[in-house]
Amino acid sequence: MTDQHEPDPTRDLTPDEEAHVRRLLADARHTDPMPGDVVARLDRVIAGLAEEPAREATVVRLADRRRRVTRLLVAAAAVVVVGFGGSQVIGGIGGMGASNDAQVGAEEEPAAGQADEQAEAGDESAEVPSSQPNEAPTAVPDRLARIRPQSFAADTQALRDGARNYVTDQDLQSEERSALLDVCTSGAWGTGRYVAVRYAGDPGWIVFRRPQGSTQVADLFLCGSELASRSLTLPYP
């Protein structure tokens, strides 16, 4: 006896059966409006996003990209020199460990006054994000971390959480470091934690944004593009 609930993928439905299934699906359409709490949450997200361009526009000029990349290099090296050991850098980059919590917390939801302050003070710091250890590409991946398009979310989360896979740039061979920074010069992509990746074979950067409550946005920027190719909201911490 065969199990009548065992699907037979090779079987075609009769027109009547197909119509019936389609009718059932149509009847099961979700018709309730978006709940108020979700509306409020997404409105907050949009409001948060709307703050970003103003901040970034103030501090980033496309003409300065080349200079910024140079500073990025210098700052990244400086961070390594001032004593971020390999494991410490690793913890800071991916794990959002305890040592970063205060800093991350301090970044969250700045008050209006703070935002202005940040915008002003950010002329240099955001232009050269690496001057702040929390936002700097203080370490680069052991060769480029691979992000697969079909598992973008999982790979990106693993990239953030699996920090011990990464090493400081001192551990990279010079040609690798050179290739990474030559090919993947970061664009005017705003502040965040930059991790160089290879996405579907193309080099780029994942930028982990400042956590907002229980979530953190990660953006993928491919080299040569001003726009995020993909974005993702990760649970945080």
Binding site: V21, H30, V39, V45, I46, A47, F152, R230, S231
Partner: protein, 227 residues
């Protein structure tokens, strides 16, 4: 977020957003959010995951608005971004999941997220209860489909988009959408046999068939008749 009416088209709102209008994206999203919510709800299967998927899509759309080239309708593009964000989440969840999905729907429903998606019509007449139960079973069965098949069915059979529009939203060929829909319907038909039309009204109750009538005997049984 203000809800003031805005007569600009979707494309105009998106263009305004790209050019720095800080309110334009919110207005555009508010215009389409209920339908996007419906898609996210049925694709993700429960409100919490739907909200997360929708938020991912929202952020992606916000940041990538400049890449919109106008070769599709804005609403199609929005759906595409949201559906892909939902699918990303589903794939990530699948990777993270250490234990496989149980085969038994009730077991899955007991885990909470599915249960929270079941709504009860407070009006409560019998027909409404029957409809609710039917919808619950359809939604539960839908969740057992592979994510890509589910998304195709949500767009085509639930939301009423054409195969071509769904293909654009899912970033695949129309033939692929047809194939996913077809396979998904077969699977649903199998899973939803309890809902087959002949069983809806005046049907033979499920269970073993009634026992056959006794075979007539040529000789009478029982004690012999008194002479």
């Amino acid at each position: 977020m203000t809800g003031r009416p805005d007569e600009r088209t979707d494309a105009e709102l998106l263009a305004a957003h790209v050019h720095g209008d800080s309110e334009a994206f919110g207005l555009l999203f508010a215009r389409h959010r209920d339908r996007l919510w419906a898609v996210a709800m049925r694709t993700m299967g429960n409100p919490d995951d739907a909200a997360d998927g929708l938020q991912d899509g929202l952020i992606a759309a916000y940041r990538r608005a400049g890449s919109f080239r106008g070769d599709a309708q804005v609403t199609t593009w929005l759906h595409r971004v949201v559906v892909n964000a939902c699918l990303d989440r589903l794939r990530a969840a699948k990777v993270r999941r250490a234990d496989p999905l149980p085969d038994d729907l009730d077991e899955r429903g007991d885990r909470g997220s599915l249960a929270t998606s079941i709504t009860v019509d407070p009006e409560g007449p019998e027909d409404s209860a029957l409809t609710d139960e039917r919808r619950r079973l359809v939604v539960a069965a839908l969740r057992r489909l592979p994510a890509e098949q589910r998304a195709a069915l949500v767009l085509v059979d639930m939301e009423g988009y054409s195969v071509a529009e769904a293909a654009e939203m899912l970033d695949c060929a129309a033939g692929t959408v047809k194939s996913r829909c077809s396979r998904g319907r077969v699977r649903l038909a199998e899973l939803l046999q309890v809902l087959a039309p002949e069983r809806d009204r005046g049907h033979t109750p499920p269970g073993n068939p009634s026992p056959a009538p006794p075979v007539p005997s040529s000789e009478p049984r029982g004690p012999p008749a008194p002479a």
